[in-house]
């Protein structure tokens, strides 16, 4: 799967980046390609290239706050989740995403 997404937390200095790292590690371990953009208090970093957005199968938004640029993902399924959950259970979360995409494909 090609995953793109955004991570953002309240203070925007720690959870944001931990969530990104956990997601990237878990997704790569499961054999997916992933690009996560961070929207910390410093602003947008690692912005997702348009090419990846076009190719993506699913968008993952791990955020406790409002994120900007959600409309970039209008063509694909968007899954939103608090940062806390992906930090605690990144691998299980990726599993859930896989399940959901399976279901979506069959439906």
């Amino acid at each position: 799967m090609n995953i793109v997404g955004i991570a953002a937390c309240t203070a925007g200095i720690a959870h944001t980046y931990i969530a990104r790292e956990k997601l990237v590690t878990a997704a790569q371990k499961a054999g997916h390609s992933i690009h996560i953009e961070t929207q910390g208090t410093i602003g947008v970093q690692d912005e997702i290239p348009q090419k990846l957005i076009d190719q993506a199968d699913v968008a993952v938004i791990a955020a406790d706050v409002k994120v900007s640029g959600k409309d970039r993902f209008n063509h694909i399924r968007i899954i939103e989740i608090p940062t806390e959950v992906v930090i605690k259970s990144p691998n299980k979360f990726i599993k859930k995403v896989e399940e959901l995409m399976q279901k979506g494909a069959n439906a």
């Binding site: 309240t10 200095i13 959870h15 406790d64 859930k96 959901l100």
Partner: protein, 369 residues
Amino acid sequence: MVEQTSGKLFTNLKQHALTAISYLIPVVVSGGFLLAIGSLFGGVTIENIQDPFGFFDTMYTMGGLILGMLPVVIATGIAFSIADKPGIAPGFLVGLVAINMNSGFIGGFVGGYIAGYIAKFLKDKMKVPQWAEGLKPMLLIPFAASLAVGIIMYYVLGTPISILTDALNNYLLGLDTSQKLLFGLIIGILSSVDYGGPINKVVFAFLLSLQSEGINEPMAVLMLASMVTPFGMTMAYFMQKIFGKNIYVRMEVESLKTAFPMGVCMITEGCYPIIFNDLWRCILSTGIGGAIGGAMSMYLGAASPVPHGGLFAMVTMTNPLAWLASLLVGSLATAIVLYVLKKPVALDDIKELTEEDEREIDFEELKIT
């Protein structure tokens, strides 16, 4: 859209508050530092710009101006989070109304939600003829939403909120010694058991509202309680050196090297690798440390006019040494409890979380569109 359950509604409300707080933090921190450093060097408010003024007077005045605007920042942030751009005008207005009515931070907080939802409602439901489409975001929504929320504040909600704010402040200012200890203890526990998570942030929002009324002692408690975790865990590391019972594996010792400096800046998250390896023992020990440190800091009357910054915020504090002492005592308590509770391990034991250790995720927690 699927029908929203009450749980989802709460999540949304919380997200709007957190978004506003994320905008608020840099504003409060910069304003607090300006005010505190200005006041440290004898700055006073510039009342009349024609009179001569000094450098530190400008700092003090700038800080005061910003901190006086907090109801506006929180109201605009919440309304923007709910309704996007159309929320900004009514949010800004309702914040100013809250200041005008002395209903303070709570007024801005409540008003921000009302402003945001009115603007969102208009945005979604208002039907106008084609020729007026351009007027809708420019004039109709901001004007109607501002007017509506302003009237609600002036005639309905503003006065009760002002009375409530006053009552709360008077109550907190009049706490006797045992009540202070208890209050510090509770704030200390709540701020230290979920490591910067949702409980901590809810407490943070409440304490910000107190801070905007000039009650700064509780925020000092929260800051200390957030720092007890990295400080206590580091102290526990030195205990293992002294007493010979090994409680950390190599990976955990490594993470302490970054966790401690982060802790100095009041960021707890560096301790995550240690916390998640042994969640309940960590929560218990940091909770106890936060409780003891918090009670002590309240009792000694340490107060912080800025809500973030860790040790660097000490320059701005009242009774900074009392605060530091409370932090160290609380951290020591955390260290002792953690050291006693944790099972001995060998330094090279591999302890990594596997997928089986992770918490189950419910589909309910995901929002899918």
